[in-house]
Subunit: 329 residues, 2 copies
């Protein structure tokens, strides 16, 4: 295995000790099936295996490809696609226990026609995205059961609360959201109340299972929340160019980073702007061509999706290379 | 071949007729080697083959992977890596005529050690990114020649002018930038003055070759410039969910779109926000679950880089599937 200095850049790296600490902290807080890790945050079956080894054998996915990849990796004891689909045939073809979110007659029909035998009723708990009106949940559950599909319970994502830095405000929004979800659950029945995420993992006390994913690797957006998880992911770059005007340029650009949460940060530097394959920045200390820089991603999920592989490192030593094998759709 | 309605979404699609018109318009304006098409904009050797068929046999790349892919595809008569590298060994190992940009003694040394026999002196012409001080160009050229490397000329990218909607302003910035580049060229020598892009393809009259890429597929940012190229790329999505509150949700999110130029647009709708796998939007006309939507990417380059393949369509008919095979590094 090479050393960090041998890696061609841009190179995505995970600090093995920080990852392990994050995984163990969460496993202690939400053991076993109390956590349904969301693989959308890392898209990496090798990382999912670490989560499974710590006792989490149920997973959450955002795409059919993610579900297929977990099944192929033998990690599909109980997989939830926490998203609506209108063609469920690829899911129905899998030899695994797959549950899919539904929020309309059309998505229930897709599950039934596609051969998916279990659903959660997805309830809108405040964020304008998928999810039915809470008052409509019971009707949809009846409709699903009438179509021969098992209704395991409800799901509701309080995404509008997830990244609020103020914990009191976050707590209050979660409480409101879960009041809606509790009412829907009472009307729908079933054992499962699936909800939550990294930002609300210890605030959401209604959910029977929390769908957190970002906690494993973290990013600069979640770092503002004072959670017990530390940034384990960084993007290694090389300084390509310097100038007398005080800026430097490294080979990490917007094709290597999720940009939807704004620019990522560089240790000991002010970022000016990202281009496709470059970042222009003002370093706080003397910087020379060939120096390495560490970029701290603003949004972990799309950053992982930009790369084919990620290197697991212990100090300066690369201890493993993991394929980011759940990309695409 | 299937029809558009058969494609699983999100699906990236190119309108074959619009692409062809864009390629022909550019080939008429800048025939043969007057255009050095930039493959960073599409990362697709099948599309590069179309450009080559219209007479452009020289290409521009932003990454080593792109150069390797063009060589493997037999499209490497004369490939320019218009970017600095500090380890050129992968380039030197290729059986092709490769030229690389240099802007420092370190990058010249990397070219010499890596076995790359030709360089362009990259000159900063106004945008704070790579490129040497114009006054330093002659010294670097001498240094390169002393290291046994051929100096073919200069390169300078007027990126700060590229997306300005006002043509007069764009013209003026290009003129200033090219004044610097002309001075550097006079001092450096060589036959090549490589510069420009889609936004300045007909304004940059100094350059011996224009490095345009976006013109082939276009995006909403370039669409504001009143250029003779039309948007040929769109991202097809499916409406997953609707609500009484007036918003709808489709399965096209920020993992399928470059987000660095802001949110992409949807025909006949107001976009509210993108999440990883969703867009929430207010449609201007009645919208039902299962309806298709067309997203117009805000930035073509990173959008192409999000996808494994793109579908070439003629009306509703899918006429070809192209691998986006130059992704990664």
């Amino acid at each position: 295995m090479p050393f960090l200095g041998d890696l061609a850049t841009p190179a995505l790296v995970i600090d093995a000790a920080l990852l392990d600490a994050n995984l163990r902290t969460m496993a202690a807080a939400l053991p076993g099936a109390r956590l349904r890790p969301h693989v959308k945050a890392h898209k990496c079956t090798a990382l999912a295996r670490r989560q499974a080894a710590l006792g989490h054998r149920t997973f959450t996915c955002a795409t059919i490809r993610e579900v297929e990849g977990l099944v192929a990796a033998g990690l599909a004891d109980d997989v939830l696609l926490a998203n609506e689909v209108l063609d469920a045939r690829r899911l129905g073809a899998l030899d695994a226990r797959v549950t899919v979110a539904v929020d309309s007659e059309e998505t229930i029909e897709a599950a039934a026609l596609g051969g998916v035998s279990a659903v959660l009723i997805d309830v809108n708990v405040g964020m304008p995205r998928c999810g039915c009106d809470p008052a409509d949940a019971a009707r949809l559950a009846d409709h699903a059961r009438a179509r021969g599909v098992e209704v395991r319970g409800v799901m509701g994502y309080e995404g509008h609360a997830m990244l609020l830095p103020d914990r009191t405000q976050r707590t209050s929004l979660v409480a409101n959201a879960m009041e809606s979800l509790a009412a829907a659950h009472a009307a729908v029945g079933g054992d499962v109340v699936s909800s939550g995420g990294t930002g609300t993992f210890d605030l959401n006390t209604l959910a029977t299972e929390i769908q957190a994913g970002s906690y494993a690797l973290m990013d600069t957006a979640y770092a503002k929340l004072a959670l017990p998880f530390r940034p384990a992911l960084s993007l290694l770059g090389t300084v390509l160019s310097t100038s007398r005007a005080g800026h430097a340029v490294a080979d990490v650009g917007s094709k290597a980073l999720g940009m939807d949460h704004g620019p990522s940060a560089i240790d000991d530097a002010d970022v000016w702007f990202f281009s496709d394959e470059h970042v222009t920045f003002a370093p706080h200390r003397p910087t020379r061509v060939g120096d390495r820089v560490r970029v701290r991603p603003a949004h972990v999920d799309p950053t992982m999706a930009c790369h084919e592989r990620v290197y697991l490192v212990d100090g300066d030593r690369v201890v493993d290379t993991w394929l980011i094998d759940l990309r695409g759709w």
